[in-house]
């Protein structure tokens, strides 16, 4: 017969169990997955917590700098105490690198290399390591323009790999591809849209085995998939953006949920927040999905036209940099433009917002920090910094530090 413990002991056991669970949860990488993918955990380029410094240089507010073995527009990601970055090298850009650094010291913990199995050509301004890797907090999913998809754990152990262009030899774009993968539940979603074999696939994140594959328009797209929908996993869906449409899909089956058949930007990705999709379409268009039917168009603002960088959204405001380097701030409720300010340089990387500071890094390494006034009516550049190199990444942010990479180096920018 089972012995019943006194209530007091039961409570103590429960408390101990919860404490242990909490400690275990805190110790798992997923709990510390600070910036696990392109544009951060919510794909909206917004972080909370301590702000990185407003200015930096090689001799000021640089915690460390690490050398990189190759080029890459891809962005660093931060998983717990580790910073992961990809690059590509070689005359033909056919050498693929995944590197892991200790976030505190900048020490390189491990380095894995692979050979591309797909096409490696790109415009000179890009490189094979254009997509940003993604992580679920325990596994890393590195993706490349050559459509090689590689899964490693945080210790650098290879879990699986796929050559999507080895499977489908006409998948590729000689201008380069840049769509970053996402992880949703047990599925890694990789978007391979081009003039040849054009598709999106969902693969089992534990094995790399294909779960679904859907045909896509035979046109080049550089935009990245976005997790959208409700706060609960079961309500989430995948947004796929092509130049001719924006579609929503069930992440488990890939099944089409709805389609918005209007022209969209081929590079700049959309954002989803609180049930509204802010689509990079005909400028910017706000959409609200309806269950079982087409989307409602809430508003459109043609003057909110993103450049290569994607928009970000926070506190009811949209921020966007256009091809001329003009930063616009607009109301998320109706698209009304509140203010504009010109930044210096050309921007490939998406800026990020930490509290009331927006951090933007131009292609030539000029960092500009814009402080947003409390009521959002004004944005003012409060810091300008310069690092040497070519920068196409979007910064990652974690624990008050900013991580940026050029074609040669990875920096941790943080106050001492």
């Amino acid at each position: 017969m089972r012995q019943v413990k006194p209530l007091r002991n039961q409570r103590r056991s429960i408390v101990l169990a919860l404490t242990a669970l909490t400690i275990a949860w805190l110790a798992t990488p997923s709990a510390l997955a600070d910036w696990p993918q392109f544009r951060g955990p919510q794909s909206n380029s917004v972080a909370t917590g301590q702000q990185p410094p407003a200015t930096w240089s090689e001799s000021e507010n640089i915690a460390w700098r690490a050398d990189l073995p190759g080029r890459g527009p891809s962005s660093p990601i931060v998983v717990g105490d580790r910073v992961i970055v990809t690059s590509s090298s070689g005359v033909k850009q056919n050498r693929l690198h995944v590197l892991c650094f200790d976030a505190d010291s900048g020490k390189q913990l491990w380095h894995r290399q692979f050979w591309a199995t797909g096409r490696t050509l790109s415009h000179p301004s890009s490189a094979n390591a254009a997509p940003t890797p993604a992580s679920d907090g325990q596994l890393i999913f590195a993706f490349y323009s050559s459509n090689d998809l590689i899964c490693l754990d945080l210790e650098g152990n290879l879990k699986w790999l796929r050559g999507l262009a080895y499977d489908f030899p006409h998948a590729g774009n000689d201008v380069g591809m840049s769509s970053s993968p996402i992880v949703i539940g047990n599925v890694v979603v990789a978007q391979v849209e081009c003039q040849g074999d054009s598709f999106v696939t969902g693969v089992d994140k534990q094995t790399g085995e294909p779960l679904w594959r859907i045909e896509r328009p035979h046109e080049a797209s550089w935009a990245s998939p976005v997790v959208a929908g409700g706060a609960k996993d079961q309500d989430a869906f995948v947004l796929l953006q092509s130049p001719s449409q924006l579609t929503a899909h069930d992440p488990v089956s890939g099944q089409l949920l709805w389609s918005y058949d209007e022209s969209c930007d081929g590079i700049s990705s959309s954002v989803s927040l609180d049930g509204v999709i802010y689509a990079a379409s005909q400028g910017t268009t706000a959409l609200r999905p309806k269950s079982g039917g087409p989307v409602d168009v809430l508003w459109n603002e043609s003057r909110l036209k993103p450049g290569a960088a994607s928009m970000l959204i926070a506190d009811g405001r949209i921020y966007q940099i256009n091809r001329a380097g003009v930063l616009s701030c607009a109301q998320a409720t109706d698209g009304k433009i509140l203010w504009r300010t010109r930044l210096e340089g050309e921007f490939w990387g998406t800026p990020i917002l930490v509290g009331n500071r927006l951090y933007a890094i131009s292609q030539d390494g000029k960092g500009q920090v814009v402080e947003i006034s409390a009521d959002g009516s004004e944005g003012k550049v409060i810091g300008t910094s310069q690092l040497e190199g070519t920068f196409q990444c979007s910064p990652a942010v974690a624990d008050g530090a900013l991580y940026v990479r050029s074609d040669n180096h990875l920096w941790k920018i943080a106050a001492p």
Binding site: H111, W115, N173, D174, C194, Q195
Partner: protein, 395 residues
């Protein structure tokens, strides 16, 4: 069924590599076999993941040559599994203060029957722990089947040439540049050397060097309106008859002879056949090979393409105006001794942008490393067209 020689090689290497590690090598075999058996669309990934973990649990640095040898004749996915294993084992060993088995790795490197990428990987780990490795090993790699080892060797010879030129020793510089040109396979190195030789009044016929085909027979336009032409087999695809008359999109068509003097061997179809959009052109050449030999048919074009060799379709790409570089598309086949018929299909679409008006191609025949295979009847180099002020061949 007979195993291929390289497959046998990796098995032999697995048996002998590491000397005293023979017993351990035997232990690696099941795991390596699993890694070698991964396939398309994720096939074998589950098993490979377990095998890779198992390999990490007991493989040691002495067994690196065994893992490297498993890359011989392996498919590209398997090669990546194996490469990751080599790197992980070596990295862990070095981080723990161990020394790598450089003698065994050098033996592996020296055996050119092994996979070129595996040999390069062996070299890189040797060089990581032995600073003398580049000076000791690379100078012997000028004719190496590894394109990366060869490139490093060429770079050293170029540096020697530049030093000689700087020291005002033109004869030594010339000899070194010539040596580098003979070994170089990468476009950037060839261009650099050619420019240096031109300054020494020794211009290089780069069209000849690369083997760009300059004399063609062309016919077109056939219709590609709405993109229909790419998959439409017009009469030249069924039978190449240089005396035939066809019905094209604008009327009757006949083959015309065309010679290009372009410094990079481009054939501009807008000039040769007239400006057309939504159009298909065919280009054919009778290519005479000195012997039966494997060959790569390499094509650069901003247009959608197909490549046939002796009636066999070797490569297709239905992409328009997405880059245009030398050797962009590669068809692998075998030349027969004597006459070979090469047929290209070059499709232009109907985009209206300024940057989408090119309708052209650049083509050559070469070996797997990129050395030109020339038609036996090709005229000798014409260095006069590459005087110092001429634009050197580029993509």
């Amino acid at each position: 069924m007979h195993r291929r020689p390289k497959q046998m090689l990796w098995i032999v290497a697995w048996l002998v590599a590491g000397g005293s590690a023979l017993a351990q090598s035997n232990d690696l075999a099941p795991s390596l076999d699993v890694l070698r058996n991964v396939g398309r669309e994720g096939a074998g990934n589950r098993q490979a993941s377990a095998a890779w973990s198992q390999l990490m649990s007991y493989a040691d640095a002495d067994q690196l040559p065994t893992i490297l040898a498993a890359m011989d004749e392996a498919n590209p996915l398997a090669v990546n599994w194996l490469r990751a294993a080599v790197d992980a084992v070596a990295e862990k060993h070095v981080q723990n203060g161990g020394t790598l088995p450089t003698d065994a790795l050098e033996s592996f490197l020296e055996d050119k029957r092994h996979d070129p990428r595996a040999r390069r990987l062996a070299y890189e780990w040797i060089a990581r722990t032995d600073p003398s490795a580049p000076d000791r090993l690379i100078p012997q790699m000028l004719d190496d089947p590894s394109i990366e080892l060869r490139r490093d060797a060429v770079a050293r010879v170029i540096a020697e040439a530049e030093q000689a030129a700087s020291d005002e020793q033109p004869a030594a510089a010339l000899a070194a540049y010539r040596k580098a040109l003979g070994a170089a396979r990468d476009l950037d190195q060839v261009k650099l050397v050619a420019e240096a030789l031109a300054k020494l009044d020794q211009p290089v016929d780069l069209n000849h060097h690369f083997g760009f085909v300059e004399n063609w027979r062309l016919v077109g336009p056939f219709s590609n309106v709405g993109g229909i032409g790419f998959d439409t087999a017009y009469p030249p695809e069924k039978r190449v008859d240089f005396s035939a008359e066809y019905t094209g999109s604008d009327g009757p068509l006949r083959w015309i002879e065309h010679h290009t003097d372009d410094p990079a061997g481009h054939v501009d179809l807008n000039k040769a056949l007239g400006k057309h959009m939504g159009a298909v052109a065919y280009a054919a050449v009778e290519f005479h090979s000195a012997r039966r030999q494997p060959a790569e048919l390499r094509l650069g074009s901003p247009n959608a393409i197909k490549i046939w060799l002796n009636g066999q379709l070797l490569a297709t790409a239905q992409a328009y105006h997405a880059n245009n570089v030398m050797d962009q598309y590669v068809g692998r086949g075998e030349l027969v001794e004597g006459r070979n018929l090469i047929l290209l299909k070059i499709c232009q679409n109907e985009q209206t942008e300024d940057w989408a008006q090119d309708w052209k191609f650049q083509f050559r025949v070469c070996d797997a490393l990129g050395k030109a295979i020339l038609d036996v009847n090709r005229a000798p180099p014409n260095v006069a067209r590459n005087k110092p002020n001429d634009k050197p061949a580029t993509e």
